[in-house]
Amino acid sequence: MYFAASELHISIAAEPLFTVFGFPVTNSLLTGFIGSTLTVLILVYVALMVRSGRYNRFVGLVQWVFEGLLNQIKNIIPDTKLARKITPLAVTIFFVVLINYWFSILPGVDAIRIDGVPVIRSLTADLNFTLAIAIVSIVAVQIYAVRYLGAFGNASRYFRNPFKDPIGAFEGVLELVGEFSRAVALSLRLFGNAFAGEVLLVITAFLSGYFASLSLPVFMVFELFIGFIQAYVFFVLTLIFTALAVSHHGPESQTAHSPSVRRSPKAVPARNGR
């Protein structure tokens, strides 16, 4: 008998299925390729349908989500030009993370194996991917900050004269460390949730045995919800980090972290968004 997780196989790292010219093709890479292709196909299909003026419920659903994301971007980033620029990155993060996360509930996540290695593993349960999009997100934030504040303006967020402004200099160091911690937090949060979700499903299937058909759907629905939440969190944090980066205006903006009502009437989002 080879039913579901009759033999548990948990690996924190994605496992190679085969190699192409010496390059290891892991199970998460294979699943991610399928997931990302599906994402592109869905979005291209919706764009073509919108372009030709043909609509159906699925197109309407994707449009509704897309419009919601756009509104969220406009709300978090008041600068319209910057909001337009960051839209492709933020929206792609949302859709890619969402669809790839939902791949973790596909039947056969742990059951289909080649040489004992599961073939299907969600791309979001691979730290390489989560770290890659976290790096892209943080680097993009830095690029927008440099464009918005200038190279020196952006550097002044981190490097200040310790003799003139010792507290500001210390704060700059903390800010620099914060940038790295944000990238690590972004990647580990998504990876931890996706990996834990897969493990949860595998263990539920393992413990339920023949009743897995009854117990798994509950956790699958839960994972669908968590997948949406994680995609949305990654999307929103990318926007908040961008908004925070471009909201600094030189050394006098030291109060930007705790703005007074008189100096900054606009609401400032949470500093690290966590």
Binding site: L8, H9, A13, T39, V50, L70, N128, A132, V136
Partner: protein
């Protein structure tokens, strides 16, 4: 608990922290580049259409909102104009009523005056007629009396006097009797 041992054995075989976490720099760079390509392709060929459609819908909504605002303003203006016209009509009606009342009062006064004058004239005519009638009646009575006296005198005297003589005598007697 076999999976725990399996997990432990795998992690211990990987070199370093990154290896234990499954980080492979080649895979990391590959996925980073693949994701960037995905962002560029979607940003260039897919999102513009979706954003254009959203912008158009937003523009339509804004246009509809503006049209609704304009319609509301027009309705408010129309209502204001209607109220102004109603006020003007009420004022005009009040003026007309006042004028009508004044004219009616004037007409009534004139009619009354005319009626009074007519009544006075009729009364005066009636008085004049009555005076005439009285005078005529008196004259007739006087003449009748004269005739009656003449007749009576003739009967008493026994001879018929001429009319002129009788009348002269009667007249004289009457004057004496006064």
């Amino acid at each position: 608990m076999t999976f725990l041992t399996h997990f432990a054995s795998e992690t211990t075989t990987e070199p370093g922290l990154f290896g234990a976490l499954g980080i492979d720099w080649r895979l990391l760079v590959l996925q980073l580049v693949a994701f960037l390509i995905l962002v560029v392709i979607l940003g260039k060929f897919v999102y513009p259409w979706l954003m254009k459609q959203v912008d158009e819908r937003q523009a339509n909504i804004e246009a509809a909102a503006e049209a609704a605002t304009a319609a509301q303003k027009a309705a408010a203006d129309s209502q204001e104009k209607t109220a102004e016209q109603l006020d003007a009509a009420r004022k005009e009606a009040a003026e007309i009523v006042n004028t009508a009342k004044l004219e009616a009062a004037e007409m009534a006064r004139r009619s009354e005056e005319k009626a009074r004058k007519t009544a006075e004239r009729i009364a005066a005519d009636a008085h004049a007629q009555i005076d005439k009638d009285i005078a005529a009646a008196r004259t007739a009575l006087y003449n009748d009396t004269l005739e009656l006296v003449a007749t009576a005198t003739t009967k008493i005297v026994g001879s018929e006097l001429t009319k002129n003589i009788d009348q002269a005598r009667i007249k004289k007697a009457v004057e004496e009797s006064k």
